[in-house]
Every structure is written in C-alpha cells, then in structure tokens.
Symmetry: none
Subunit: 225 residues, 4 copies
C-alpha cells in the first residue's frame, strides 16, 4: 500500500495520483508520529508541533493533511480500526457461538491483546472520549466500533437478553478489557504474560455464568478446574 509506483499517465489524473502517493506516505508518517506522541503524553497534552517534529515535517505540512488536532486522532483511530479489521476482522465476523466460552474468548482476546501490544496507541484511543469536549463521541471511532462489536458478539450468546442489559454487559466487559489491556501494557516480560492470562480469566468468569445460563444448558462447570 505505501508503494504506488505512479506510472506517468496523460495529464489530468496523473498529478493527483503522484501527489496522493506522496501524500499517503506523509499521512502515514504523521499518524505514526501521532501514535507515539499520544502514547507518551495522552491526547490533550500532545501538541501538533510535537507530532510534526516527531514526523520530521513542519507544522504547516501537518495542517496540509489534517484540519486540526482532533482529525489526527480520528484518522489514526480509523486506520487502526481498519488494520484491526483487516488482520482479525474476518475471524471476528466468523465467530462460532457454539464454541465453549474459553475457546471463544481466546479467539477474541488473544488477537486483541496482541494487536494492542503492537499498537499501543490503540489502547489510548480505545478509551474514547472520557472527557467531554475532547474527542467528540461521534468521532470516537475505536471506542464505539469495538463496543458495538462486543455487544454484537454477546448478542449472539444471549439472544434473550434485553437490549439495555446487553448493552450493560457489553460496556462492563469492554471496560474491564480496556483496564486489563492497560495493565498488560504497563508490564513486561513474564509479568505481562501473567496479566494476559489474568485478563482472560476475569472475562471468562464474568461472562461464564451468563453464557452457561443462557442458550446451551450444557454441563459447563467452573472455568478453573
């Protein structure tokens, strides 16, 4: 994707094509820089000048591609979501609700954890517009998209749950996962691995009874035999 060998076409669309190629690189550069700065300082404390500096371009250049600071976060979130969907989206869409919960959670959480470790900015954006006035809610792509996805998955398992209850459970689950991811990212090595396990354990325990109680009256027993 970053390499579009821009064949010299006639006249009209040639220039834009070349431009867009260079522009794409710039944008990617800027977003990568933004990811770093957001992680280090948080959205509010991150300065567009710092992002431009980190990207090795001038402030003016940054504003040639983004109308303002928020747009950077929005676009970064959009791209990370996109990358997430490309990498793990298929698996997500094809979740098999008949799987035992622990396997299902593994199939969901393992990629999510891995993706967050590789893209720590994802976690930052995942938290969404905690503070009103920062990133407008409707612009908070990552948070709402993931939450919706969680809700949908849960809906498959709990078809009888009222929408409000579903939303509540999804929010609760997602909130815990976000917290767990933060802890995971805050640690390293074996400690990090232990937190990964712990997060999955927690989610399993939380959702286990719900799932067990609901569709399949299987002989599901405790999750840590």
């Amino acid at each position: 994707m970053p390499e579009a060998p821009d064949t010299e076409e006639q006249a009209g669309p040639a220039q834009p094509r070349r431009r867009q190629a260079r522009g794409e690189r710039r944008i990617a550069q800027l977003l990568e820089a933004a990811a770093g700065v957001f992680c280090r300082s948080g959205y509010t404390a991150a300065s567009t000048n710092a992002i431009a500096r980190e990207a090795g371009v001038s402030p003016g250049t940054l504003y040639q591609f983004f109308p303002n600071k928020e747009a950077i976060a929005v676009e970064l979130g959009g791209r990370l979501m996109q990358r997430w969907r490309e990498t793990h989206g298929a698996a997500f869409d094809a979740i098999d609700p008949s799987l035992p919960l622990d396997e299902l959670l593994d199939s969901v959480l393992d990629p999510l954890i891995e993706f967050n470790c590789e893209n720590p900015a994802f976690a930052v954006l995942m938290h969404g517009s905690e503070i009103p006035g920062r990133i407008t809610e409707e612009h908070d792509a990552v948070h709402s998209a993931l939450l919706e996805r969680v809700e949908r998955i849960l809906g498959d398992f709990l078809p009888d749950a009222a929408p409000a209850e579903l939303s509540r459970i999804a929010n609760m689950t997602f909130s815990s996962v976000k917290g767990g991811l933060e802890l995971i990212l805050a640690h390293e090595g074996t400690e990090r691995d232990a937190y990964k396990v712990e997060l999955k354990t927690m989610v399993q325990r939380y959702l286990g009874p719900l799932v067990d109680a609901a569709p399949e009256p299987a002989d599901a027993r405790t999750h840590t035999p």
Copy 2:
C-alpha cells in the same frame, strides 16, 4: 500543608485560626471548584484560571493557597481520601474475612460506589497518573492508597498467594472497579442502579473462585445459581 501558621505565641490554635477561617473557606471553595473542573475537563486540560474563575476568585488568590496545579490535585485527593476514611474507613479496617464473599463485597463496594457518586472527582483522581509526567506517582495518593487497601484485603483472603500474584489480582480488581465506577457515573437513575449491581456481580464472579479455592473449604456455591 498550604498553611504553616508558625506563630511564636503561646496560645492554642484558636487565635491563629480566626484569620485562617476565611482562608480555610477559600481552600474548600477552590477545591470544590477544582473538583468540578477536573471532572469536566480532566486534570491536564483543567486550567488554574478556570478553577479560580469557577471559585469566583482571582488567579492570585488561588496561588495564595496552592503552589501549583498539581498541589491542587494532591490536596483534593488528600481531602477526599480523608473524607473517605472518616466516613467508611472504620468499616474497611474492620472487615470480617469470615463473611461470605458477596456480603463482604457489598460492605466494600456499596460505600465506595456511593462515595464516588457523591464525589465524582474521586473517580477522576482514582485513575492516577495514567500518563507519565502528569501527577507524580508518589503524589497520587488516591490511586495508590486504594490499590494498597485492595491488596491488603485480598491478602487476608489469599494468605498463600505469592506477592506478585496478589498484586496482579489487586490491580485487576481495582482496574475493573474503576471502569465500573466510570460506567456508573456515566448513567443515571435505574440504569445507574443496574450498573451498580453489574459491577458487584462482576467482581464477585472474578474473586469468587479465588476465595472459594483458598482458605475456607466451605460449601460455597456459585453466586448465580
């Protein structure tokens, strides 16, 4: 801390206090204003001028009582912790480990939830120095104090757990509680109540197996039969 009266008089603290009465009121006023602004904008985006304005005083007055912005957060955290201890600390210190988990959690979480609903800034400060360089860790009284308390309580239940494991479980629990509190605060009325229940359920499910497995080989059964 903001006031060191150091009068070389002999008398008690009565005389010097009269002068400070106004100041004490101002401090309370400023902290209340800070609580509001912190809740609305978060620590980073909160401006001392905004706090002063909200308190109805000039910027200079604010700095008569606090040396800088962080000190405001620290003092606010300190006061909230103090209030928390005064209101619910005794109950916390006297937790009866022989209680069934759900009762124990009620005795811990109900007050915590109530306190957060009454003091929403508590939740803000509870999150601690998410971003390195904001509020210094050692100054992050609320977060570390509560985390330590959680760890201690858990230690009573899991005397055989390794320290690292204990810390992990405490962090995980605390993280989830923080997330849950955020959700509670983000909702109102019956929805808020439902979230309260949900949070307790989640913590119960997470800790239940740990506790059951540990000291008392009682006939404890799952909590959602």
Copy 3:
C-alpha cells in the same frame, strides 16, 4: 536606638511614643531583611513579599511602614549612610589634607572597606540607579552622597582643578572603588585581603600624580614624563 523604654506619659504623646518604639523595631527588622534580599537577588528581582517573609511579618505590615518597594531601598540607603556617618563621618570630616596620600587613602578606604564588608547591602546601593527607571536618581542617597564626599575631599587636594575635571576624577575614583569593593566582597579570606590591598594600590596610583602635581611642590615623579 532600637530600645526606647517608653515611660508611660500622660495621654497624647504616650501612645505615639510606644507605637513609634515598636514601629522602629519593625522598620529595623524590615530593613535588615531587605538588605539581605537585595544582596541575594538585587533590587529588581527582590520582591516585597520575600522581604516581608524574611522579616517574619506579613506583606501588609511592610506596607504599613513603606509606601512601596523603592522607599525601602531609599530608607535602607539613608540608614546605612547614617550609620556610616556616625561611625566614620567624623574622621572623614576631619581629614588632614597635609597627610601623605597613602595615609590619607588608608584613613578613607580602610573604614569604607570594612563598612562594606559588614554591610554588603551598602555596596549594592552604592551602585546607584544604574538603570534609569529603577531608583530615581534623587532618591539614590548612598551613591550621590558618597560621590559628593569623594568630590569634596578631592577638592581639598586639587583646589585649582576645574569643577568638571574634579567631578570627572571623583566619578572615576568612585567608580573604581565600587568595582574594587565588589571584588573584595566576592572573595574571602586571604584573597579578600589581597584585593583590599590591590584596591588601595590602584587608587593610590591613580590619584598619586594628581595630588603630587598639585599643592605640594614635592619631588613627585610622574609615570608619564
């Protein structure tokens, strides 16, 4: 002087007397504090709050005795000049112009040096209103008084010199002495002593030829024959 045992008189002048006694102590306290702060930070960077703090009183109290910051410097200068006059003024007024120059300089510079070492603020104020707009010239008691004194002494030695020339020589001499005093104060121990000697040597060499050439037709040899 600081101790006026205020005997209880009738009515009218009793109160003021007592007040003045306490006030005198306060003023002395404040001026001493100001001396310290001026030495440490210079006049511009010295804050009235810092002076009050150093004096152990409140800002309000300071302004009960001085209308503004400049007045503090002016009064401090006045008092130091007063002390200077009381201690060494007599000797100065009774300078014997028939003395050989080196003895005369000793009789002038030795006390001046000693006084400056004991009252470092004197040197600070001696420099006068280097910067227009700080301490108004007419308020710069120390500088102008000392300069005038130097001029008068020199006038005794050089009765034939034109006023402008006299003023020039006085300024030059005074300027060098100020510089030398700064160096003296900047050093300690034997190095300080060496600077004392050096300063006197310099002044002697500067004034020697002038004095020699003037009243007494001695066998003075000049360095620029």
Copy 4:
C-alpha cells in the same frame, strides 16, 4: 544555535538558507530590540514581551528563535563578541608586548571604548552575572571572555607573576575599565571624550608600575617606595 537545518539533502547551505533568510533577519531584529531593552531596563527587568514588542513581532515569534530570555542574552553576547573579534580581534591577538605601555593601552582601549559606544549593550553584558542566579556564569560569554583576554595580555607583561596575582590584577583592571566605560556611556560630547582620556590615564597609572618593574629594568619610579 537556534537553527539546526538538518535537511537530508545533498546540496550546500544555499537552499536551506533561503527559507531562513527571513528568520535570520528576525533574529537580528530581535537581538537589536533586546539590546535596546537590556540597555534601558537591565536584564532582569527586561521582559520578553517588551523585546518582542520593540522588535514589532508577537511573543510567539520570539520564542520561535529563542527558547527563553537567557538564550537571548547569551546569543546577543555571542554575536557582540563575534563582532568584536571580527573587528578588533586580530589587533588584539597581535599585541606587541614590546610597545610602551601607553601605546599598548591605546591599541587595546581605544577600540574597546569605540565598540562600546557603538554597542552599548556590550557594556551591559560585560558586567556579567553580578547577581547569582541571573545569567549563569558559564553562559556569561562576554564577561569571562574579556576577562580572560585581559588576563592573557597581562600575562605577557608579567611572566613572573603568580597566577592568583595575575588574576587579581586582571580583575581589578577589568573592573575599572567596566566602570570607566559606564561613565563614558553616561556622558556625551566633549565630556565623553574627557572620560575616555581619564579612563586610559587611570589604567595606565595602575598598570605602569607593574609593567615597568617587571620585564624591562628601566628607570621606572614607583609611588610606593
């Protein structure tokens, strides 16, 4: 120092300079403004806003080129020293120690005086960090560089002097010259000229005996036999 172009291009410094031309002009403008403000108010009382205003730019522009107030003084000092070296440095390095003292002093002091009259800020910066905490010593380029130069020149004349003595004499000389320059700048027209002569006379008289007594066993007469 304020500009690190770091273009990864191959070309010479021609291209990158074109962009900086405006900036270079701004820097010069700002430094000129700073020189004026420093002269009028002194370093401490000079405000960056005042400098920006004097330069006809906004505060932000100033900070695009200088990280803080001290850096302005440092750069100004550096440029003035540079200009000084370019204009008179060669003559200084090629001082002929066999010259008679008065000619030598002329060759040193005349340019110095002239340079100070043309660049009054030089005198301000020459005084160095009189007050601890203002301009850090190591940043006080003008003062230390000139003092060192004086010391070196004197060293040529007094090869047998102990280092401490040399330093003392250099300090004394430099201090007097600074004082004299101040007086020169404080006057105008013929009075200024007269002060110029007076300063040279004073230095000559101070150093004459030292020099005479040292290398050339001339028939020098000292005033303190």
